[in-house]
């Protein structure tokens, strides 16, 4: 027993050290690739005039699909914001996914809607559509509203795809605020296709809108959130989007386009089977399935990511909602990895199978599990009085220093690229957040992720509703300050 325990502790010590080392190395490589790609992107696009697309005969048409569930607080304003998007040829499809509140009635009244005899093929499976509505007002001809039975976000998006008329579709959370030129920027990679290399999806940076000033559906002043929980998420989003996804895009290994805002080739999305109802991580699952579809047919393709801040969203501002969100993200990741387990470490799927999927398995899904096991291991060692205190303290400070370094690098990227937080004290507040986050919020996120895995095993299927306060509230708060 003693010998077993000796070898077990030796193995555990080395495993933790090796895993941490690999994680550091991976993040270092990703941020290096990201830096290079970011410089290239900024140089390439510094003197681009996106308005050229507006007059181009070759500009593709876009269907914007926005599911809505119990959004009565903000729906009318949100639709107005979507209709004001700067683009040449687009339609806005709002899917009322069986809301229990008066969302549908509010839309009908505000936009003078009436039921129309809309004929369509059900190319993708979705719940029963009760009716399709158009406005009596000719200037609102771009707006289509679909009223359907509740089936979840994936189901609503599939319904939207079935109804849509154009070759590209943008899936967006209805409460998101889009930047003025966001569609123009998103469409450019599709227009840059050369020869037989097809762009199948494009994603962009999602930013946190808490505490920002919003007027007429537009962000008029960017503020750093006053509350610590959304402020930590600002840091997380900068790290994930500017340091992570930019690198994956450069390596053509991106498998996640945020559900908040992404643009897709409709034909490929339909051919791949559309959004999957069986997972709460439908955004990631669709991208993997589209990539898998292309790989299995040996077609050349790209999934592109843009570092421009294109979309602003409200982040959870309390632990209850944050826990639900993180729980859902974990379940979504686990379900998606399980659905596509065939791809992990499978060289037949090229970079996707050998690098992207193993990374997500080892460092996204597994990381919180390893962290929590390591934590319990340390407690056990301390309880037994055999904890190597010197090693523990050294490792703790090493990991803490790396966490601060990684966040500081992200803040530097943000400062040198888009420079969204212009107030002098914002930098110090972000740096302060970087010091606090690993000690306070990160352990909680690890706990929520572990709970997510446990919930998945025990069969919890809840999507984890996000309660919105609405941007009107954000504006008031900012002005009051």
């Amino acid at each position: 027993m003693g010998l077993f325990f000796y070898y077990f502790t030796r193995f555990a010590d080395h495993f933790i050290l090796l895993y941490s080392g690999l994680l550091f190395l991976t993040y270092f490589i990703l941020s290096s690739v990201s830096a290079r790609e970011m410089i290239n992107y900024l140089r390439k696009n510094s003197f681009i005039d996106y308005r050229d697309i507006l007059t181009a005969p070759s500009a593709p048409s876009i269907s914007i699909i926005a599911p809505a569930y119990n959004e009565s607080k903000t729906i009318v304003e949100n639709i107005r914001s979507l209709l004001n998007i700067h683009y040449v040829n687009f339609e806005v499809i709002i899917i009322n996914d069986g809301s229990k509140d008066n969302t549908m009635q509010l839309i009908i009244d505000a936009y003078e809607l009436e039921k129309v005899p809309y004929a369509f093929d059900q190319k993708l499976p979705c719940k029963n559509i009760r009716g399709v509505y158009k406005s009596k007002i000719p200037s609102l001809s771009k707006l289509t509203v679909v009223d359907k039975e509740n089936g979840g976000k994936a189901d609503a998006l599939n319904a939207g795809i079935n109804i849509s008329r154009y070759e590209l579709f943008a899936a967006i959370d209805v409460d998101c605020i889009l930047e003025y030129e966001s569609l123009l920027k998103m469409v450019k990679p599709f227009m840059e296709e050369r020869g037989n290399r097809q762009v199948i999806a494009v994603g962009g940076v999602v930013r946190i809108a808490n505490s920002c000033e919003v007027q007429d559906g537009k962000i008029i002043r960017v503020n750093l959130p006053k509350q610590i929980i959304p402020r930590v998420q600002v840091l997380e989003y900068i790290r994930a989007f500017l340091l992570g996804r930019m690198a994956w895009s450069r390596l053509n290994g991106l498998i996640l386009i945020s559900g908040a805002f992404g643009m897709f080739d409709k034909k490929i999305a339909i051919a791949a089977g559309g959004y999957n109802h069986k997972t709460v991580g439908e955004d990631m699952e669709l991208v993997i399935r589209m990539r898998r579809y292309m790989e299995e047919r040996s077609k050349k393709y790209r999934v592109v990511y843009l570092p421009d801040p294109l979309c602003w969203t409200e982040a959870p501002d309390n632990l209850k909602i944050l826990s639900k969100q993180r729980n859902r993200w974990t379940r979504g990741t686990a379900e998606t990895l399980w659905l596509h387990k065939k791809l992990i470490f499978n060289p037949k799927y090229g970079f996707l199978g050998t690098i992207s999927m193993p990374f997500w398995f080892l460092f996204e899904w597994l990381a919180p599990i390893v962290e929590s096991l390591a934590f319990f291991y340390l407690i056990m060692m301390a309880f037994l009085g055999i904890l190597n205190m010197e090693l523990f303290i050294t490792l703790f400070f090493l990991i803490y220093a790396f966490a601060i370094l990684y966040s500081t690098a992200a803040i530097l990227f943000e400062e040198l690229s888009y420079h969204q937080y212009k107030k002098k004290r914002d930098i110090f507040r972000l740096l302060g957040t970087a010091l606090i986050e690993p000690l306070v919020i990160h352990p909680m996120n690890v706990y929520y992720a572990v709970r997510g895995n446990l919930d998945l095993m025990t069969g919890v299927k809840n999507w984890g509703e996000m309660k919105r306060t609405g941007f009107a509230g954000a504006k008031k708060a900012a002005i009051k300050k």
């Binding site: 007059t55 070759s58 129309v116 004929a119 406005s135 490792l395 400070f397 803040i411």
Partner: protein, 376 residues
């Protein structure tokens, strides 16, 4: 209390030997980990320094920019509206530093974009007289490609024709942005035949490239627009695609017979563009050939043909379209297009649709209701 706070420095002063002993008391692996931790922390401090330096630099630059903008607002207004403007108005002090010169260049270029004719010519004169044009030309020799591209953009916008020869070599550059900027610059500066570069174009012109070339074309007088049929025989498929698209956009009817003969093209995208161009040229003469080709076409091209029939009000296609409705259609969107084509063909087409409304199955009736609804 004071005594408590007094520090006896001799107690905490270590000799280098004692320090070495303290450090080497740790095992090797711990020493390595400590070294890495210190390296991380040192890097944090360096990054922090860069962040703060960048922020101070940005703030100073923003302030300087605002200062220059305010200083030259009235000066530039005089250039624009005075009867006899003085072009040597820029303070030599403001031409010393590259940032100031870049700011002034940006201001002049930005103003220039909003004007044409005499006023634009005055701004070009100011650009030359102040010597700012030299920066744009010097930028062409910069080692960084983005600086070269920016220089080309300024040369094009400010009509620096003397730089044409220096830009021309970049038209075959391996860097796509430089190639594209060179194309646009040559187009802008060329006195005759602005699209001559298309004759030698071997690289693929993406939709984005085509959009940019079209933007430049839109700014040219009608007399400068070439006959695009010249490139229909190009060996570069993307040049052919661009030519087809422009024939439609500029309604170059003389190219219609050539386009009709190209309807048998093997590339689906080319056929799609040809049908679109024929529609834009209102080439009803193509209807017969389109009907002939319909059955053998892909569903995307079929949709485009139907869209053309519906736009052109193709009376000669009524029988053909009515026959199509008899056959079961897989795609309801295509059925709607067929019905819309019939509805646009006048009373005979409308009556054919009405007949189907009475006798068709539920799916067809649904499609007819959809097609007839003006809101959809």
């Amino acid at each position: 209390m004071n005594k408590l706070l007094q520090i006896n420095w001799t107690d905490i002063q270590y000799t280098s030997e004692e320090m070495d002993r303290a450090i080497y008391a740790f095992p090797l692996h711990l020493r390595v980990l400590i070294a890495i931790t210190l390296f991380f922390l040192a890097t944090v401090l360096i990054l922090l320094f860069i962040i703060l330096a960048s922020r101070i630099r940005k703030t100073k630059r923003a302030e300087r920019k605002v200062f220059l903008q305010k200083k030259y607002q009235d000066v530039f207004s005089k250039i624009l509206y005075d009867d006899h403007p003085d072009f040597n108005v820029i303070d030599p002090k403001d031409l010393k530093h590259s940032f100031d010169r870049d700011t002034l260049t940006q201001e002049i270029v930005h103003l220039h974009e909003n004007f044409s004719g005499e006023i634009a010519a005055r701004l070009e004169e100011l650009f030359r007289a102040s010597g700012l044009y030299r920066d744009s030309i010097t930028r062409l020799n910069h080692r960084r490609w983005d600086k070269k591209a920016a220089g080309m953009r300024e040369i094009a916008l400010m009509n620096l024709r003397e730089a044409t020869d220096k830009v021309a070599p970049y038209i075959t550059s391996k860097n796509e942005i430089l190639r594209y900027e060179a194309r646009v610059t040559i187009m802008k500066l060329s006195v005759s035949d602005p699209l001559s570069f298309l004759d030698k174009e071997t690289e693929w012109l993406s939709d984005w490239d085509q959009a940019n070339i079209f933007t430049m074309l839109r700014k040219m007088p009608d007399s400068a627009i070439p006959d695009f049929s010249r490139w229909l025989t190009s060996k570069n498929p993307s040049v052919v695609a661009f030519a087809i698209s422009m024939i439609g956009t500029y309604h170059q009817h003389q190219a219609v017979p050539q386009l009709i003969s190209m309807l048998d093209h093997t590339d689906e995208r080319q056929r799609l563009l040809i049908i679109r161009a024929l529609r834009q040229c209102e080439a009803t003469v193509a209807e017969k050939k389109l009907i002939e080709r319909y059955e053998s076409e892909t569903s995307t091209v079929q949709d485009e043909i139907l869209h053309s029939f519906s736009t052109l009000g193709a009376t000669s296609a009524i029988q053909f379209l009515d026959r199509l409705l008899e056959q079961p259609q897989e795609d309801i969107a295509q059925t709607i297009l067929i019905i819309r084509s019939l509805l646009s063909a006048g009373p005979v087409g409308i009556s054919a649709v009405d007949k189907r409304l009475q006798h068709g199955d539920d799916r067809l009736q649904m499609a007819i209701h959809h097609a007839k609804d003006q809101r959809l």
